[in-house]
């Protein structure tokens, strides 16, 4: 049901990626030997237990983390650093710039791009903010927003940009069921309309199946690929259906029961 470019070429590629963080006791491995390719218009969802390296992979693709080994390529070129072609929605609540109002925050990337007139920028920002339900607080500063409102503003800021690639790190985690499903739909609609490529992190398996055209499952410590599966044929119409539920359960089982050795004992 999703409109996909039949001859989609690879937009970015993560090739045997290993990520280390330095620590007092030497480097700590966060991600090991993870590979995937994402074609234009595809929506890849990273799924895995907390701390398995999803955010790290996302940051590496964004150009913030240099691989300890392996490579990340955009359109065949190695990623050299961050850039506005890959817009990130971070997991953190403090990603809005505190010295800008909500509206200014959303206008910020458009202003920087400098392709639109002031009026157009304003109009786009306001309409994006209306979509995420923040019309009431356009001129408020971020520190007066609730957690969910901050995340929504950050989502709006990413969505106005027309970036080719969006990297979203648990963008809907702080949202109520209603807003969440509304924004999921909006995101899908926009994806079809504009055709951006998406790398998405979530903890909700259902959300992953609905949003993603493909799931990439990771095991923890360090993050390694378990498997990758296509979910392109699932869409909102399947909500509550048997087969979505089955797939959900399956994914859950792959993620959490097949690697007892690698998983840390959660209880005791």
């Amino acid at each position: 049901m999703l409109a996909r470019d039949p001859v989609a070429s690879t937009v970015f590629e993560v090739d045997r990626l290993t990520l280390d963080y330095p620590s007092a006791k030497g480097p700590v491995r966060a991600v090991e030997d993870v590979s995937f390719e994402v074609a234009g218009g595809e929506r890849l969802v990273l799924l895995g237990p907390s701390g398995c390296g999803k955010s790290s992979i996302l940051k590496a693709v964004a150009g913030f983390l240099k691989p300890a080994s392996g490579a990340i390529r955009m359109h065949g070129q190695p990623v050299r650093g961050p850039g506005p072609d890959r817009i990130v929605v971070f997991q953190e609540f403090d990603q809005l710039l505190p010295w800008k109002t909500v509206r200014q925050n959303v206008e910020f990337p458009l202003r920087l791009a400098g392709r639109l007139s002031r009026a157009e920028v304003r109009e786009r920002a306001d309409s994006a903010l209306r979509k995420v339900g923040l019309a009431r607080v356009l001129d408020s500063f971020p520190h007066t927003l609730s957690g969910g409102m901050k995340q929504r503003a950050a989502i709006a800021r990413a969505l106005v940009t027309d970036a080719d690639v969006l990297l979203m790190d648990e963008p809907f985690a702080a949202l109520d069921a209603m807003t969440r499903s509304q924004l999921q739909r909006d995101l899908l609609e926009l994806a079809e309309e504009i055709g951006f490529t998406l790398l998405f992190v979530t903890h909700s398996i259902e959300e992953a199946i609905l949003i993603g055209t493909r799931l990439h499952l990771l095991s923890p410590h360090p993050g390694r690929t378990i498997t990758s599966l296509s979910t392109a044929e699932f869409g909102y119409a399947d909500l509550g259906s048997r087969r979505l539920e089955t797939l959900s359960r399956e994914v859950h089982d792959i993620l959490f029961s097949r690697q007892p050795a690698q998983e840390e004992a959660l209880h005791g």
């Binding site: 964004a62 961050p82 817009i87 990130v88 403090d94 710039l97």
Partner: protein, 278 residues
Amino acid sequence: MAEVSGRILQAAAPERSTWIDWLRGSALVRKVLVLVLLAAVWEAAARFSAQPILFPSFLETARAFIEALLKENLLSASWTSLSVLIKGYVIAIAGAFVFVSLAMASRFVRELLQTLISMFNPLPAIALLPVAMLWFGLGETSLLVVLVHAVLWPFALATLSGFDGVPETQRLVGRNYGLRGPAYVVRILIPAALPSILYGMKIAWAFAWRTLIAAELVFGVSSSNGGLGWFIFRNRNELFTDKVFAGLAMVIIIGLVVEGILFRIVETVTVRRWGMQR
């Protein structure tokens, strides 16, 4: 507890429509109270020591202050000093920004700046005297050099450590939208480090005064239009201690005005409004 979790608790104090007015009023009232208290302590201490030639009382100083205002051009002397001070201050702060921005772009410049700061910051202004004389001669240029020395290093240090403390996420957001170089500094680092920068500006302001008063005596004045430092020096030489204190009171008053009005307004419309500082 009311005092520390202050911001939040104030939030919903019963006074609704007038809470801003009330707070302003009360802040002013408190400030005046503090000033009256300090004046009283001063008066008492001076009367107790009973040594007007070393330590004139508040009232004597006030009298001398008014007299100096009316008859001795204290105001124009202050203006002379203030205009040099502002010039030096602006040059130093602009220079520090340029320097620190470069330091953000290259590790080597950063190391250079840090080394320069830790070398020059502890050096007293007199250290510069001969070199300043040699290269810049007498007069305003040398005075400015000394002022810039007093202000540049502490301010650059404040800015540098402010930049270092910018939250990771905000840094990443700036990078993500393609900012680099000066644009990155201006649009991300400076606003994000504004609390530190404002603190640096306050310190710089204070040390600019400390230095100017002392330096005016050395680099002097080529004619009669001396500044506040010169006013103080002259009266000290004629043993008019009350006028010396009047000159110092002028420094204090200018400081209170700048701090209490200028800086406070800037803070209110920036860092406090943005929730970056209580």
